[in-house]
Structures are given as C-alpha cells and as structure tokens.
Amino acid sequence: MKSTVVVFPGSNCDRDAAVALERACGTPADMVWHRDTELPATDLIVLPGGFSYGDYLRGGAISARSPIMRDVVAKAAQGVPVLGICNGFQILTECGLLPGVLMRNSGLKFICRTLHVAVANTDSVFTRGYEANQVLQIPVAHNEGNYRAEETTLDRLEGENLVAFRYTTPDGAANDAGNPNGSARNIAGIFNETRSILGLMPHPERAADPYHGGMDGARMFDGLVAALTR
C-alpha cells in the first residue's frame, strides 16, 4: 500500500500518522506539502490532526482552500480513500467532502483523554478490521469536536449507515454519559455516501503501538493495508 500524508502549516500529527502507517504496511508514507498541486500515485490519502493555520477563522477552514485540496477532492472523486483525523475531519467538512460541522466542545475546554467509541459500521476499508459494535479505547484531543448537522442530514447519515463511530460508555451505551463534547447523536466519525472517505475526531494513530497502552487504533491501519495492498 502506498499512502500519502498531507502536511499543512500547523499540522502536528502528520508524523504520528506516518509512523502508524509505516508500522502497518512497512513502507514510509509520502509527505506532501499543502502548497503542492498534485498528489503522487497513492492508495490512501491522510489529512492529519493538528492546528492547521492555527485554527484561525475556524478549524480547517483555511486549509480546505490550500492548493493541494483541489487534487484531494479530484482523487476522492475517483475513489481513492481519504482518512481525515481530528483537524483532518474538520478540513473534510470545510471542503465539503463530508457533511456537517465540528463546533466548540460543549464544555468549552480542550479535552485530551482516552475514551470509548463503538464501531457503528464495519463495511468500509477503514473499519473492516473491527467487529460490529466493538467498543474501542482510543484517545481524543480536541477543542472543536462537537459534530453538528441538520436533523435531516443526521437522519440520512444514520439511515444510510454512514455513521462510522459513536462515543459510548465503557459498556457500549451511546448516551450523554459517554459523550465528551456534545456531538449530535454521539457521532465520533462519519463516512461519505460510498464509504471511501472517513472523518473522525478520535486519534487511531495514538493507539497503535504497544507503548501507547492500547492497540485499538492499529487495527484500522492494519485493515486498510489488508484492503488496499495490491
């Protein structure tokens, strides 16, 4: 599998994503600067976490207009899988590849903690490594992870099984007690219509090494390698 990590000014989980990808597939990812206009041939595009453009204006809003994003949108239209983690998820909503917005956490504070998310749909290249409804322990670290969309959009996401992950309690209940940031319907991650694009707030690359204290995120990368290695 050949993967590409896009680096925006202010990205800071680009190396972490690359390390997790290399661990899973054995080859280093291509790191592509946001001002480039063309992606290399790739099986997977990752938009990493961080504070691209300092979160100025809105998280992801300026990066969504970076030169490289035109080619990201074009490759996504051709079906190249795109994974947006945290700030990468924000960029995906800002550039219109995913619906909805990520608003300020309901508690108005940055939250960094390892929490529980349930896998809502295993039918994608991203989630095929998991069991249905499996409860994972994966860290979050964000100020703006409160997913919001029109009720009709939320209904459509749920109706078409486009919710990828939900925040839950340790026993898998998607209720307020398991919701760290006020996200509508406990949504932690969503797919596009064809499930070739995933945006999620939790950081799978932070649960991808035995010394992280958990390997629940590694299975996403292992699943991607299994699905995308030609």
Partner: protein, 731 residues
C-alpha cells in the same frame, strides 16, 4: 528623541539606582539618550542580569561527564547516548501570568520552547509547576482557568505534549502566582547550536513575527514588586501566537539541517536588545543593526520601542556569508518574515542606526561585564524545634482523615488540569500525567527520558536549606521511582524581594541545600531561572525553588508505574519510618497548624535507598513503585490503590510509632513497592543495608489499616476526583 534630556526621574522610572546610573555614565563617558537608557535598563534588570542571585548561583555544581553544556546558554544540554543529547530548561512567567493569565502563561510556554529549539533540539515534552493563592481568594478561579487554558492553548497548538507537572494552592500566592514552564528537547549531540556571533561582516538576520508594541519593559516589570496598581501593567504582557511559533520551529529545524547558521538566539525577555547583546558579547564582537529593516507591525515605532519590544515568536541569527538565499527560501516557504537587519563588526560596539542616523552606540563588554552584582545582606531563617509525634492529636479514624485530605485543594486529582493538555501528541508518551515522573520515549528507540518537577515550599519556609535539599531529593526520587537514572536538573528559584534580609536568607539557604543535594547525587544543575520580587504590598510568596529533573530510561520494558497491578501482591515500604509530623501536610491540612522542623534529608541514605529501588525495578522484582512524599505513607498507598482500582490491607510492622504518625509522617528517602517476590527483595535489602518492611498485601475494593479501619477505594476516588472539578465549575 535625542533631545530629551535624562532626568533623575526618568532614570528612576527605568529601575536604575543612582549608583547604577553612575556606572552607566562612566561606561559611555557621556549622557545616554533615551534608547540607550532603555537598553541599559533592561540589560541590568534583575530578570536579565541576575544581579542579586549571581553570587550564589556560582556555588551550584554544574559539571559531570554527562554534561555537554551547563548554565549560560539558552538551555542545558546533557548526553543521552547513541549520539543524542537532551536540551532542557525551566523558566518562570510569574508576573505576566498574574496580570493576564491566558497570554502570560501561554507566552511562558512559548518562550521556553523557543529556548530549546534555538539550540537545535526538537521539543519533545513540556512540564510545568504552578502555584496559586487560596481557593477562597476572589481571583484564584479566574487565574487557574486562564493559566491552564493558556498553557494548553500554546503547547497543544505546537504539537508538543504536556506530560505532567505540579499545582498547589496557598494564600501566600494570592498576589503573586507562579507559572514555571519546562521544556525538554532532543538533538544530535554534535548538532547543538550556540549563540556566540562570529565572522566579521556576516549578516545578522531577523526571523519570525513582526515587532509590535507589546511587552515593552516586560523584563523590568518582572524585576519589581506588585502594588495595587499592577493591573495597569497589562500592556507590558506579551501576546502569543503559537501557530507562528510552530512555523518558526519547523523552519529553524529545516535551516539547522543545512550548514548556514553561525549562531542563533531567540528573542525573549528584553527582545532584540538582549539577543543582540548576548550574541555579540559571547562572540567578543560588535553588532550593528539598521533598524529600518526590522519588520514592524505598527507604523511609527521608535528605536526605543523596537529595541524594548517583547513581541513573541522572533529569532536572531548570524548566517555564513552567501547563505542568505538558502535561508530566505526556507523562511518564505513557512510564510515567516526574514530580514537582514545588520552585520557583525570588529568594533566591539553595539551600534543602532535608523536610516543612517546613529541612535545608539554602546560598548558591548562593559554593558555585560559591568552589570551590577550585589552581595545582598541576609539573615538565616530561625530554626524551628522538632515537633514530637505525640504532640499531634490522633484522629478518631485515620482513614476519615485520609478521605478529607484527598479531597483538599492540595491533594485532589489534577485531572481537570491535565485533560486540557494534549499529553499524547508525537506518539512517544509512555507515562503521562499523574505518576511520579512522566516517561517519553526517545523517538524510534526503546529508550526514554523521565521528567519531573518538584518543590515543597512548606519545608523551604520552615528550613530553607532542608527545603532546597528536599526539592532535589524528591525530583531524584521521582525519577528513580519509575526506574530512570537521574541525569541532571534545571531549577526555577521563585522568591520574594531580595532587598529584604529574611527573603535573601531564604534564597541563600535554599540554594545551599540544592547545591549539597545535587553534589551528593551527581545530579548537576545545567540550566535555570531566577524569579525575584514575587511580592505584593510587602507580602512575599513562600520560598519556592522548583526543581525540574531529567532522567534516562535505558529500557522501556524495565520501568515501574504506581498503580497496584494485581491482587495478592506484597506491599513493602523501603526506608525508615519515624513518623515525622513537623511541617507535614497532615499538620497543615487537618490540624491547620504550621509548625515544627521539616523532615531531615539524609542525602547518603536517599542515594542508597534510591539506588536499591532502581535496581529492583531493573531486575524485574518490582511490579509497582511510588515515592513517599507529601501526605506520607497512607497517601502514597491510596494513590496506588486509586490508580490500580484495587484495594489493600496494611498494618504497622511494629508499634514503635503512633499509628497516625506512621500513616501521615513525611520521613524522606522512602518508597512503596509491590512485588511477587518479597523474599528476594528483603534479602537484597538486608545485604545492602537498606531498611525494608513488609506492610501488607494488595486485594479487594477497600483500603484497610490495622484490621480496624477500612474505606472503599471508590469513596476515596470520588473525594479525590471531586474537588478541583467542582471548584472550577462553580459559578
């Protein structure tokens, strides 16, 4: 500008004494203009010149085979093997954080990170040590909220994990909070960058953010007491932009991978003035700046304002000739300002020109070398008598006392704070906040750095020398408790007004204790910062010499955490328990008494016990380890139980000490360990002359003492987790 004549009043406003001004006149051999006066004023401020502390700092041990660079550069550098070096330092941002907590704390974090990457190291971990006033004080909640958000806001955006720290509350900090920020970075041991300018004619280059009018005279503010009008100093607080600093970090590291840089220095306190003068002085050269080339944020800035601005996220470099274009291309890629603002000269003078008009001309060497040095008069702190354990009333139920203690401001969980810090970014955090020391892997290896910050101001107030020793001992012990080999330390000496003899006595005592302990542990002081005048309306803070300790973990599979790992393990206490309750947390928090000498620190015993514990961690016979500090044995055990969600039953090995003194006494040089192999541990301890006593076993959902008292771990945890969360969410 030149026409303003310098009156006594203007001199006083600049914080210079009459004698200092006389020295200035003899150096210049004429009257200064306002710009020159401003330059002397910041260079000779307490903050920049260390004029009250230098005499005593010289007594600290700063050398060792592991030391690559001791105090005097932007940060200390130690060898960590495999061709790598750790670069680290702690620095205060106390005064600005009190005036404007979010920006003050954030720019403190930004400043210390700049010190680290200026030397060529990528920052890999941040820590902090915070002191706030009484929770009842009207400003405390606002200050905690702003400082924590400020530290998180800066570090999180930079993508450097904040892996731990310490926070305490005491009314002595009501008018002067402490915000001490520490950063650790990693660099190639032969790729360290220094600040000595060299190469006559070489270009002097300004990079980073533009210069604005913020922070003018910040260093001078940080060198004076506060009074009721301190709010008016808000304009002297800098405004941070962590996004720009992240770009500056990446751009600097990219340029450092080439061979273009001769010298580099960040602009921190006293901005462009201090950075230029230090580079020139260290290189024994002169520097001439053309101020019209300095990127400015606002029109019409005077030379005085440009030279004294403390705008953040700026650096000064001397480049090799002909490398300007390589450097410019990198900074333009990262969308940062890049301007050639001057050149290195052979005149030994610091010369400023604005459109060819001379606006300042000062000889560098005397500006630095003839800076004031004071041997301030001091009186030793009066010794306290030893308080017998029997002079402290026993509680009806010691576990009820424990429950109360864990629910106080100073002993509750700090989760509300550290969940606002990204402590995992960079993917190398092995043990984050909440343990004895944080462990951060050296990227791509199975080795790691261990980091801690420590100080017990209660002890420092009671007996400065013991308090200084204890702060070092506790840092050394915390590194040891996770299995690390302590390497070196950085210190942040926070005190009141040094012109008061009693305060100067506290300073002298603490420094002496720090020196003794670091010599005894071969744990040298490689960097540090002094913050004096932490005083408002004549009321000083507790003496607070914070120690930032760095250790090396040779094998990540040979470390220990504090959580009880499993049931049916044997609990052993290493070290002697005499039940020392003088100056203890129990006495302060439960009995509301501040008396008695603090526990003595036997440095040889510390070292023997610590080396023994570290050996047991390395040979795999320890399954959990926690150092015994504030709150005593029972607090250590409760913290292990809460972290492991597992109870324990413990009992005194004999009845030589009253129960409450055994539980809450703060004898030093002690650790609690759990083991599956007690015989081996006890035999080894006996062989090495280390005191080790079996005190109980893990298991169940409650903590039981002497089979007579019991409390559920859930109940302890609820109290422990509730206080700070509740306090901060109160309307």
């Amino acid at each position: 500008m030149k026409n303003i004549s310098i009156t006594d009043e203007i001199v006083a406003e600049h914080g210079l004494s009459t004698d200092e001004y006389k020295t200035l006149l003899s150096i210049l051999d004429r009257e200064p203009n306002l710009t020159e006066l401003g330059i002397f004023s910041v260079m000779w401020s307490e903050h920049c010149s260390y004029k009250s502390s230098r005499k005593w700092l010289k007594t600290l041990p700063t050398e060792g085979p592991q030391v690559i660079c001791g105090p005097g550069e932007n940060a200390g550098v130690v060898d960590i093997g495999d061709g790598l070096a750790a670069v680290f330092k702690i620095e205060s941002h106390n005064h600005p954080s009190f005036i404007e907590p979010f920006q003050g704390a954030g720019t403190g974090v930004g400043g210390i990170m700049r010190d680290i990457f200026t030397m060529g190291a990528r920052p890999v971990a941040n820590m902090n040590a915070l002191r706030f006033g009484s929770p009842d004080h009207q400003k405390t909640r606002h200050l905690v909220s702003g400082v924590v958000a400020g530290i998180g806001g800066y570090g999180n955006c930079m993508g450097v994990p904040t892996v731990g720290g310490e926070t305490n509350f005491d009314p002595a900090y009501n008018g002067n909070i402490l915000v001490n920020a520490m950063t650790v970075g990693i660099a190639g041991a032969d790729k360290i960058f220094y600040s000595a300018a060299a190469g006559i004619g070489n270009p002097v280059v300004y990079i980073g953010s533009k210069t604005g009018r913020d922070g003018i005279h910040g260093a001078t503010m940080a060198s004076a007491e506060f009074d009721d009008d301190s709010e008016e100093k808000r304009p002297t607080v800098q405004v941070g932009d962590p996004f720009t600093e992240k770009l500056l970090l990446e751009a600097c590291l990219e340029l450092m991978a080439t061979d273009a840089i001769v010298a580099i220095q960040d602009m921190g306190a006293a901005g462009l003035t201090c950075s230029t003068v230090e580079m020139a002085d260290k290189g024994g050269v002169g520097i001439e700046l053309n101020l019209e080339n300095v990127p400015i944020r606002e029109e019409g800035m005077t030379p005085y304002e440009i030279m004294l601005s403390e705008s953040q996220e700026r650096m000064l470099m001397v480049l090799k000739p002909g490398r300007e274009d390589v450097a410019r291309a990198i900074f333009e890629k990262w969308e940062l300002d890049f301007a050639i603002v001057g050149r290195v000269t052979d005149t030994g003078r610091f010369v400023l020109k604005l459109h060819d008009e001379l606006v300042a001309d000062i000889p560098v060497a005397p500006l630095v070398n003839e800076s004031p040095l004071y041997d301030r008069p001091w009186i030793p702190t009066q010794k306290r008598g030893v308080l017998a354990a029997t002079a402290v009333a026993a509680p009806n139920d010691p576990l009820d006392a424990l429950h109360r203690l864990l629910g106080t401001a100073n002993f509750c969980s700090r989760r509300w704070i550290w969940e606002q810090y990204d402590h995992m970014v960079m993917g190398d955090t092995n043990r984050g906040p909440g343990g004895d020391a944080a462990i951060v892997r050296i990227h791509g290896t199975s080795r790691a750095l261990a980091i801690t910050t420590d100080c017990t101001p209660r002890y420092c107030l009671a007996e400065p020398e013991t308090g200084g020793k204890q702060a070092v001992a506790e840092a050394w012990r915390n590194l040891t408790a996770v299995g690390a080999r302590p390497l070196a330390l950085t210190n942040n000496l926070n005190f009141g007004n040094p012109q008061r003899e009693s305060i100067m006595g506290q300073f002298v005592g603490c420094v002496s204790g720090i020196g003794d302990a670091s010599r005894a542990f071969d744990f040298p002081v490689v960097s540090g910062n002094v913050s004096l005048y932490n005083e408002t309306n004549g009321v000083g803070i507790l003496p607070t010499p914070v120690i930032g300790g760095l250790g090396l973990v040779d094998d990540l599979d040979r470390t220990a955490g504090l959580a009880f790992p499993a049931a049916e393990q044997t609990i052993i206490v290493i070290g002697e328990t005499t039940g020392w309750l003088g100056s203890s947390a129990y006495l302060a928090e439960i009995e509301k008494r501040d008396e008695g000498a603090p526990p003595p620190v036997d440095l040889a015993l510390e070292r023997r016990n610590g080396d023994f514990v570290r050996g047991c961690i390395h040979d795999g016979s320890v399954t959990a380890c926690h150092d015994v500090s504030d709150g005593g044995l029972v607090v250590a055990i409760a913290e292990m139980a809460m972290a492991g969600n597992l109870g324990a039953a413990v009992a005194m090995p004999d009845d030589s000490v009253p129960l409450h003194a055994w539980l809450f006494g703060e004898d030093q040089a002690r650790y609690v360990i759990t083991t599956e192999n007690p015989d081996k541990v006890l035999k080894e301890a006996d062989k090495t002359g280390v005191s080790a006593s079996v005190i109980g076993r893990t298991g169940g959902a409650s903590l039981t003492v002497q089979s007579a008292y019991t409390i559920s771990i859930d109940k302890l945890r609820t109290a422990h987790e509730a206080w700070l969360q509740g306090y901060m969410t109160m309307a």
